[in-house]
């Protein structure tokens, strides 16, 4: 009975992730259509710092991995390992977010704001929405770590870790496409 309830929770959360994916599809479509409308201003190849973005990507990819390991350890009831892995995931995610915010502030300081061109608007909308999701995920993770420290690895705790890891893997998958379509293709074209 308990298992069945969990299955329903996971499926419901999965459906939420799929609707979120649809929202990202709209933002991706807008970006792809508007990518060349730079209004005489800068294009992707002039403003993207590729080594920086690669490090960002590796941060997020590694955090996705450590998040999966945390879930694995949670099933094995290894409390210390779970906390350590979740903290690692949190730090890597925070590093990713910090780098993204630095990138944004750097663009802003050079005058490449979201008001300058349709390309920059769609760029900030797409990457910014992903960043907002990351921020929400980090807050969630922080609350989860406190919850587990207080209550231990209960059935509910494991369920919460499972949902959080689904969300985090989903964000990494969206980032693969931001990395490829926005950055790699932006520089290559």
């Amino acid at each position: 009975m308990h298992e069945e309830k969990n299955e329903k929770t996971f499926l419901g959360f999965w459906i939420y992730l799929m609707t979120d994916l649809l929202m990202f599809a709209g933002l991706f479509a807008a970006f792809i259509v508007l990518r060349n409308n730079t209004f005489g201003g800068v294009g992707g190849s002039q403003i993207f710092n590729m080594p920086f973005v690669l490090v960002e990507t590796l941060f997020l990819l590694t955090s996705s991995f450590t998040c999966g390991v945390a879930l694995l350890l949670a099933h094995e009831k290894k409390l210390k390992g779970v906390i350590a892995m979740l903290c690692t995931t949190f730090l890597l995610g925070a590093g990713f977010l910090g780098m993204e915010l630095y990138e944004f502030s750097h663009l802003f300081s050079e005058g490449h704001t979201y008001q300058k061109s349709a390309f920059l608007s769609s760029y900030f909308a797409l990457v910014g929405t992903h960043g907002l999701h990351i921020t929400a995920g980090l807050l969630w993770m922080l609350i989860l770590i406190i919850f587990i420290l207080k209550k231990g690895l209960t059935q509910g705790g494991i369920r919460k870790i499972t949902l959080m890891s689904l969300f985090w893997h989903f964000l990494d998958i969206v980032w693969i496409f931001i990395f490829t379509i926005v950055y790699l293709m932006g520089v290559a074209l």
Binding site: E7, F10, L11, W14, I15, M18, T19, L21, L22, A25, G26, F28, A29, A30, I32, V33, S45, M50, L54, T57, L58, L61, T62, S64, F65, G68, V69, L71, L72, H75, L166, H169, F170, D172, I173, I176, F177, F179, T180, I181, L184, M185, V187, A188, L189
Partner: protein
């Protein structure tokens, strides 16, 4: 495939390889003076690499399709993925045609802008 550390490590290493592969291909393309890889080939290749990485992470990280039937998440994922492809491909298609089928006045303006450059 069960949820073991091995699958996570395999997924992580495969994702790393695919990320670096796409990155290096673009690096070679940008840094070569003679354009060793043409656009028409490079762009589909890095898109395919991204799709392979999507598949790798779905299988190794999200364990999609490994629960007992009926696999509702797989059904939801495939239908959503179809909708995503339609949204993106149709947008590109429609907007390209909009650019192509401008009104005569716009086309004259366009030609003027182009010739003045």
């Amino acid at each position: 495939m069960t949820k073991t550390l091995k699958t996570y490590i395999a997924g992580f290493i495969l994702s790393l390889i695919l990320t670096f592969l796409a990155y290096i291909l673009v690096l070679i393309h940008v840094n070569s003076y003679h354009e060793q890889i043409p656009h028409e080939i490079l762009l589909p290749i890095i898109l395919i690499i991204a799709l392979i990485q999507l598949f790798v992470q779905l299988v190794f990280f999200l364990h999609l399709g490994q629960e007992p039937a009926p696999r509702w998440n797989v059904v939801f994922f495939i239908s959503t993925f179809g909708a995503v492809v339609v949204v993106i491909v149709a947008s590109i298609w429609i907007m390209n045609h909009l650019n192509y089928n401008m009104t005569p006045k716009q086309i004259m303006q366009y030609i003027q802008d182009q010739s003045s450059l």
